[in-house]
């Protein structure tokens, strides 16, 4: 038996799990090897010393502290459970409110969309009169001149005429006309009438103002020409 094997068997011997054959072999080895013999002796004595050590005793109120700990833990767990239930409840309420509001919004949107599609076009659709701009008309030229004088860019229509075919200087040539898209309103007849009247008033007001300005410009031009 070599020393390495002997060292392993020393632990087995201490644990009491060594076989008779190994024990005899170990005893023979220890008899002839002072290093292993002293190692085995020191190991046995050090562990004997450890086993001789008196057991430490916990404090007298140990059991009471354990009971107190259990009571605290129970209390904490019940508080946790209550707070968890409350959180769950409040979360449910929040979810219900948000779900209801979403439903209302979606339903209202759907209602208006469907309503707009179902009703007949002749009663609902109102197309505002298209705005026709004649850029080469004398009036427009004068207006452009006015814009230039005022330092205004291409913001807003220079001259706007409606489809009433009575506006002066209107040319039928499509290449010289720029069509401005007019608003297309889909609404019921009463509302359309209201909008129509408002838009007409607005447009008329714009025209009147523009016409006044242009007429004064035109007069100036005519005076200069003379």
């Amino acid at each position: 038996m070599n020393c390495r094997r002997a060292k392993t068997l020393i632990n087995d011997f201490i644990d009491g799990v060594i076989s008779d054959q190994d024990r005899i072999g170990l005893e023979q080895h220890l008899g002839g090897c002072s290093t292993c013999e002293s190692l085995a002796s020191a190991m046995t004595k050090s562990l004997e010393l450890l086993h001789r050590m008196p057991q430490a005793q916990p404090s007298d109120n140990f059991n009471w502290k354990v009971r107190l700990g259990i009571a605290k833990a129970r209390n904490a767990s019940s508080v946790d459970a209550v707070s968890k239930r409350y959180w769950l409840k409040s979360w449910n309420i929040r979810f219900a409110v948000s779900a209801l509001s979403t439903f209302v919004v979606v339903a209202a949107s759907g209602y208006f969309v469907l309503k707009g599609k179902v009703l007949p076009d002749d009663k609902l659709t109102f197309s505002a009169p298209r705005q026709v701009v004649d850029v080469h008309s004398p009036v427009n030229t004068a207006a452009k001149r006015q814009e230039k004088a005022l330092g205004v860019g291409a913001v807003g229509p220079t001259v706007v005429s409606t489809d009433d075919k009575t506006s002066p200087g209107r040319l039928e040539s499509p290449g010289l006309l720029q069509e401005l898209p007019g608003p297309t309103l889909h609404t019921d007849s009463l509302t359309s009438q209201f909008f129509k009247s408002q838009i007409d008033r607005f447009r008329m007001g714009q025209l009147e103002k523009q016409v006044e300005i242009l007429q004064s410009e035109l007069r100036k031009c005519e005076q200069q020409d003379q």
């Binding site: 632990n11 450890l50 050590m53």
Partner: protein, 209 residues
């Protein structure tokens, strides 16, 4: 009335640990008191040797028992109650040691380090004036032993203490620590050698405990 209660408790005391914890699962708190009485010293000693501080060990022991009570319903009869309880305690002490991440609070009897051969340095007693033939009382002996145990690396110390202090079998230690049987055996052997190297110079000087 008291006599009946006493008789009932005496009868319960004859039950095994596993039978008692099953009673606890059914709401019998008296059975848990009996379990506390049975395990408090063993558990306290294990934790005391692991952390080296009496108050901390007591706190951990109480925490382990409280956890055992609160989670009693999770105990299954496939394991011994003692193994289950030591598993709880081992996890607690492991977490505590890891969270502290600092030198253990043991009495410093030895200087850490290795000599030229890589061996552990010789024991250096704090009380250099003590004569070799002088006697150590129980308290001093306890401090020296605790100091030596505290010098054993934590991963070897757990198995060593469970084996040498709490007298658990290798199989029980493997179950409590979650290690393989071979690993437990190896760690205990290493810890024994470590402990022997620390205590050996005292034995050579002929110090009589």
């Amino acid at each position: 009335m008291h006599t009946d209660s006493f008789k009932e408790k005496s009868k319960l005391k004859t039950l095994s640990d596993e039978e008692l914890i099953l009673q606890v699962q059914q709401g019998n708190n008296v059975c848990f008191d009996i379990l506390v009485d049975r395990f408090k010293v063993r558990l306290f000693n294990y934790l005391f040797r692991m952390v080296g501080d009496r108050d901390e060990a007591e706190e951990l022991a109480q925490e382990a028992l409280v956890k055992a009570y609160i989670h009693a319903d999770k105990y299954k009869t496939i394991a011994k109650f003692s193994t289950w309880l030591y598993t709880i305690a081992t996890n607690l002490v492991r977490n505590r040691i890891r969270s502290k991440r600092r030198a253990p609070q043991f009495l410093s009897l030895w200087n850490r380090g290795h000599d030229a051969d890589g061996e552990e340095k010789q024991i250096d007693l704090v009380d250099h004036g003590r004569q070799p033939d002088s006697q150590f009382n129980d308290k001093e002996l306890g401090e020296i032993i605790n100091g030596a145990i505290g010098e054993i690396p934590e991963k070897y110390r757990t198995s060593f203490v469970l084996r040498e202090i709490n007298q658990l079998s290798y199989e029980e230690i493997a179950a409590a620590t979650g290690l393989k049987l071979g690993t437990v055996r190896s760690r205990i052997n290493r810890a024994r050698n470590h402990f022997r190297r620390l205590i050996e110079p005292l034995l050579e000087k002929g110090v009589d405990f």
